[in-house]
Symmetry: C2
Subunit: 423 residues, 2 copies
């Protein structure tokens, strides 16, 4: 089969007609498939069902004697701190376990930095004039929404396959004191699936920043979300920051939203003891304590990181075939035409597809019109604007295998149709 570029006009016309016919056949089926968000599927959620009733009236006390049903223990109970310090790979004095969503902790950390500042800064960020964040792209839309919401300017930085382009990053942060932060999903990145190399981690930790209160927002959302038996290894950013004499440079985030129950998990923020003390001081104004009963459920369910890892293997068993199906259909439908590229993630929740430049928005619109909703094109870039209009995020966890195969076939048809029309 020839590549699209090498086809003569007759072959292109024939293909165009064939694709139009296949597209109309799909449309006639009246499909309604949703590939928009990285939601766990029911079978994944079922894995945590035993947790629902694990804390009964005989198990409301922690090993340390704390009644999880009452107020207090801001930051988390001792036993829970131990478990999630291991999860986030920090010390027990370098973590707070609170809230049901790491997104909330990230949002609140930015809001507090704006209103009150962070250790190392001499004033609140909102009093520093216009400030900026670096956004390695394609990235997570909800990170960008936080910046847009608070009027923080975003600067796109390229991802390289092993993290952000550090030459770009170093040059930007060294020369512009208004750059206060960078968003990172360092492991199985959303959506590219890449894991930051040791070199990238160490350069982020050691780079010279014009802003003394620069912060890395290290959203380690997929730290235990492996799809293979040979998990990616991510260097410790906190250790690297300490080694580089920049211990306060990073805030780490994690949650069990895609481990136990989405929305009913536990979330955590990590960092240097100084950062954590500052976060806890702010949090003491905002809350009396976390939902300790839910923390206790998690503790009893997992016991320790062995429990977490065993649980995540069950997740992989459920969703790995879905990622394989995405790849299989794209491979079958698109490879030979040499018209698109996509990731083959070894962990995380997404496949990232790049169409030819200028095609992504039209592809998504066309797929939608035939009953397959994709994440809005552009969503993986700040302000929803992909400068090359080519990236599409595929979220295969929620739909069934059959639905994924249908959706990917339609998506591939749309990619080819739009690419053909553009050429």
């Amino acid at each position: 089969m020839p590549t699209l570029a090498s086809m003569d006009s007759e072959a292109r016309r024939a293909l165009t007609e064939q694709l139009a016919e296949r597209y109309e056949t799909f449309k006639a089926q009246g499909l309604s498939l949703d590939m928009t968000r990285g939601k766990p599927c029911p079978a994944q959620l079922d894995l945590a069902n035993p947790m629902l009733t694990l804390v009964d009236e005989t198990r409301t006390k922690t090993a340390g004697g704390v009644d999880t049903r009452n107020y207090g223990n801001l930051g988390g109970t001792d036993e829970v701190l131990q478990l999630f310090a291991d999860f986030l790979e920090v010390g027990t004095d370098e973590i707070i376990v609170h809230s049901n969503a790491s997104l909330t902790l990230m949002h609140d950390t930015v809001a507090n930095a704006l209103l009150l500042g962070v250790p190392g800064g001499d004033k609140p960020w909102s009093q520093c004039g216009p400030i900026k964040f670096l956004c390695p792209c394609p990235g997570y839309d909800r990170h960008f929404s936080i910046c847009e919401h608070f009027g923080i300017e975003m600067i796109v930085v390229d991802l390289t396959g092993e993290g952000p382009d550090m030459d770009q990053v170093e040059s930007l942060v060294a020369n512009d004191p208004s750059i206060k932060g960078i968003w990172c999903v360092p492991k199985y990145s959303n959506p590219t699936g890449e894991t930051y190399s040791d070199a990238v981690v160490h350069r982020l930790a050691a780079m010279n920043c014009a802003a003394p209160d620069f912060r890395i927002f290290w959203d380690n959302a997929y730290t235990v979300h492996h799809l293979t038996d040979t998990p990616d290894e991510l260097a410790s950013i906190l250790q690297a920051c300490k080694d580089a004499a920049n211990p306060d440079r990073v805030f780490l985030f994690g949650s069990t939203s895609k481990v136990t129950f989405a929305g009913s998990g536990v979330a955590m923020i990590g960092g240097s003891a100084a950062n954590i003390a500052a976060v806890k001081k702010n949090m003491s104004i905002q809350a009396i304590g976390p939902d300790k009963i839910n923390q206790q459920r998690h503790l009893l369910f997992f016991q320790d990181m062995h429990g977490v890892r065993a649980h995540m293997q069950q997740h992989a068993t459920i969703i790995k075939p879905k990622f394989d199906a995405v790849d299989e259909v794209l491979e079958r439908e698109l490879r030979a035409y040499d018209v698109a590229s996509w990731s083959r993630p070894t962990g995380g929740y997404f496949t990232s597809l790049d169409t030819p430049d200028g095609c992504a928005a039209e592809v998504c619109t066309m797929a939608d019109a035939a009953g397959v909703k994709m994440t809005k094109a552009g969503a993986t870039f700040p302000y929803g604007k992909d400068p090359r209009d080519r990236n599409i995020r595929i979220s295969p966890s929620l739909p069934s295998l059959e639905e994924i195969r249908q959706a990917m076939e339609l998506l591939a048809i749309c990619v080819l149709r739009v690419a053909l029309a553009r050429d």
Copy 2:
């Protein structure tokens, strides 16, 4: 028995000696009683134990078919909104159920007002120059902490027994556009126990405010926390605001922290549809959804407000005798001396005690030295400073009846000793 004021010097000397002896006897017992916080006691928490295991794997879906284990439903599920709209006495489009703590919703509402403003305002509060809140006192220390934390100046307003002194309030807000808010605990107020009269509610709703974006923070924390069979009635502030053509003036707050489990309850914010839309817009940046499983537990446990009310009667059965014990001991030990006054709450969580001016701090220090921790004197005023140094908040819910009797006897001894020494 003569009043303290009418005693001759010999009687005073005899009493002083007798009290010193009783104090030392207490001290020798090595008590360690904590009357500092309004925490439910274990028997109260036990009442909600059936809720712990109520959502099992067969009950994770709402009546509307939502899987409570997955992402989404920002603002709360339909069924939960209905229950808590009734709880907060607002419409289902006038409420968001989110988070485990109304304190968090209050904090976040202030933080967002500072960063982004509120409907009716022309800019964020943080860009309005120094701003101020009115604080009816004695009041709730955590309200004041939010203001202090964010540098919002606090102005003390007197409580009258039926709410704030409205002449003071009206005069202040009419003339000072930098006054952006007022903290209110309108029912069984913390710590005085008073409930705002209809006249106060209507004057708050209708008063002329120099700030177009003035907000009442209506912390209805004790709306269902009655101690008698004839509950106080509180007029609807939201209806009053609508009637006065100030529909956006009020944010209402509530939670089940002192209904089900403290820290593992559900919290809610209410207000006009416009306010709620603005809050939800901000919340959409901060969260994907609430802990719907915990919301479902609450729904299944209570079903409706009949369930809530029946449950609260059981609470009253447990804690009413504790409030009676406080009153009984203070009555026995202090009444005749005419040296202090205290509230006899018909709901809520506190008894408020006023010593002679200038005595409260020393009384608390003295009680502490003999093993009874009271809420820090001054805590019921902004900046922890009671201008008359007389108010002490008593929290009888957590300790046992026996502990309360001991603690109150010691407290009374300390009040008398300090008063005698001061005269």
